[in-house]
Amino acid sequence: MAVIAERGLVVKSPPSEGYWRIAWGRLKRHRVAMVGGGIVGVFILIAIFAGSLTPYAFDQIDLYKRKAAPSLAHPLGTDELGHDVLTRLLYAGRISLTVGFSAAAAAVLLGTLVGGIAGFHGGWKDNALMRFTDIMFSIPDLPILIIIARYLGGSVLGIVLVISAFAWMGVARLVRGELLKLRQQDFAEAARAIGASDTRILARHLVPNALAPVIVSATLTVGGAILTEAGLSFLGIGIQPPTPSWGNMLQNAQDFIWTTPWLAVWPGVMIFLTVLCFNFFGDGLRDALDPRLKI
């Protein structure tokens, strides 16, 4: 901001901050988002270093100590087969977070592709793709996921593919909206006027400016992906035991709710906290990047 004194003296102002730096500053001031992001960071670290944090293996069973109450040796108790709950909880974090991130990444890629083509070319491609996106939006996803997961599920890759197949629509709509808006801006027209090719305009001008909503959308998609994976695993169609996932740890918990209710508490709390923190962080991110964004 230049300060123009009365006599026409112009004082040189410091160079203005870049967009990302301003956004980062805003994000730092958003306390809830930072706390959420911090907690997620801690969970990620725990997931990566799960092996070093626990003395047991995730499939190690102690048949003499099944359904044991929390104790010093097993801080969260043991489940019906004798696994240490805390160990499985930490390893399950690894799986659930991996699935969440990968599915969100795949969904964002897919959505950017669809939204990009629709927003950039417009016309009948836009119509057809958006129609397709709208229909996909309205399909109740869980029933279809249940069926598809039966065949592709079980492996992490299968679950990721299945979840991302129904998570890309929001991103597509966003990207399309942004591209439509950006296409009409002067800088895009100027680029075309000097003869820039489609690819160049897209890569050099449009995509960097459309990134912000995509990032926010990606963060918010991770939460949904984690929830979906947990649901599918709970039904027995997602990650299969003995590989622990927060969802499949709850599979049998309901049967034991009368005798060992704590088995049902912790995996759910982890899912809830993780998704909640991701959502808080994504919300803060959206406010930081552009408070006017209407996602």
């Binding site: 309205s138 109740p140 249940i146 069926i147």
Partner: protein
């Protein structure tokens, strides 16, 4: 308007075909058809019997023939196949279960809207107030909580633990841990009165989920409308806020909400697989889960086909509703 409708209808047709092909292929291409399962269960089965059974079920015909036969049967005769596990035609099975699901989803839906719309509007109009923050915080909770875990926790709280029973005045507040009906009650009004106690928890769980989403949506829709120029003009003209909201803002904010509601209806018929499984409620969602787990493909295919049909119909209805409510769309 009729041209708009005709155009939308025409666009639907390739979609219906595409969907039906995908649905059929997803299940038909899956490894392991019913006869293979028979073989697995009975390794002694003779090869001639295998051939005969495959021919009987039409499993040895080329894919495209099977597709057309299935489509024809479904569309022309309403014959969606036969369930192996329940030994009944799929159509009647679905029919019975859908009404069960609706007992859960419709009350949950209305309860959710009843709370979400006023809260969302209030939140938008009093943005940044303490109540707005509280409501937004709660919607975050509602959107982040895993439905099945919430259900299990509710069961634990109301059926297993119920700590308030120490107070004799509150001891009556105990709910069953899941299920659909008590034994011994089978006729007349008593059935419905009895069902209510089983309904309370799943409906609450389900509606909280819907509520969070709809509150957010109403709030953001209202926020968008209130920023518009015509609202500012109305205020500038001196109209009191209540009139401005009721006469101008609300109607416009409701348009996207109506669309969302129309598009949610197929979801209502889809039941809630997770909630129904947790509460042991015999609805369509639970049927889907058990049929997929038990490899009863006819049922799964039938359910998806019915769902797809509903999705298509209600997409069209949502388009019509939107065009009726927002004249700007018609001249697209």
């Amino acid at each position: 308007m009729s041209r708009y409708l005709a155009r939308r209808l025409l666009q639907m047709i390739p979609l219906v075909f595409g969907l039906s092909v995908i649905i059929f292929l997803v299940l038909a291409l899956a490894p392991g058809d019913p006869v293979d399962l028979l073989i697995f269960g009975n390794p002694q089965i003779r090869p001639e019997d295998v051939v005969r059974l495959k021919h009987f079920y039409g499993l040895d015909q080329p894919m495209y023939l099977r597709y057309f036969k299935w489509l024809g049967a479904a569309v022309l005769h309403g014959d969606l196949g036969y369930s192996r596990t329940y030994k009944t035609p799929v159509f009647s099975l679905i029919g019975a279960r859908v009404s069960n699901s609706l007992w859960l989803t419709i009350p949950a839906f209305f309860l959710a809207l009843l709370v979400a719309v006023p809260v969302g509007i209030y939140s938008a109009l009093h943005q940044y107030s303490a109540r707005d923050y509280a409501a937004t915080f709660l919607t975050f909770f509602g959107v982040s909580i895993p439905v099945f875990w919430f259900g299990i926790m509710m069961i634990y709280l109301f059926a297993v633990w119920h700590p308030w029973s120490a107070i004799s005045a509150l001891a009556w507040l105990r709910l069953p841990a899941g299920g659909f009906a008590s034994s011994g009650v089978s006729e007349g009004v008593a059935v419905y009165a009895d069902r209510i106690q089983y309904m309370i928890l799943p409906v609450i769980v389900l509606s909280l989920l819907f509520m969070a989403g709809y509150t957010r949506f109403t709030r953001s829709s209202m926020l968008e409308v209130v920023r518009q120029d015509y609202v500012r003009t109305a205020r500038a003209k001196g109209l009191e806020t209540r009139v401005v909201i009721n006469k101008h803002a609300l109607k416009n904010a409701m348009i996207p909400l109506v669309t969302i509601i129309a598009l949610s209806v197929p979801g209502l018929f889809a039941g809630a697989p997770l909630t129904e499984t947790v509460f042991g409620w015999p609805g369509i969602g639970q049927l889907l889960v058990t049929s997929v787990q038990g490899a009863d493909f006819a049922v799964a295919q039938g359910i998806i086909m019915v769902l797809a049909g509903l999705v298509i119909v209600f997409n069209l209805l949502a388009d019509v509703a939107y065009a009726l409510l927002d004249p700007r769309i018609r001249y697209d």
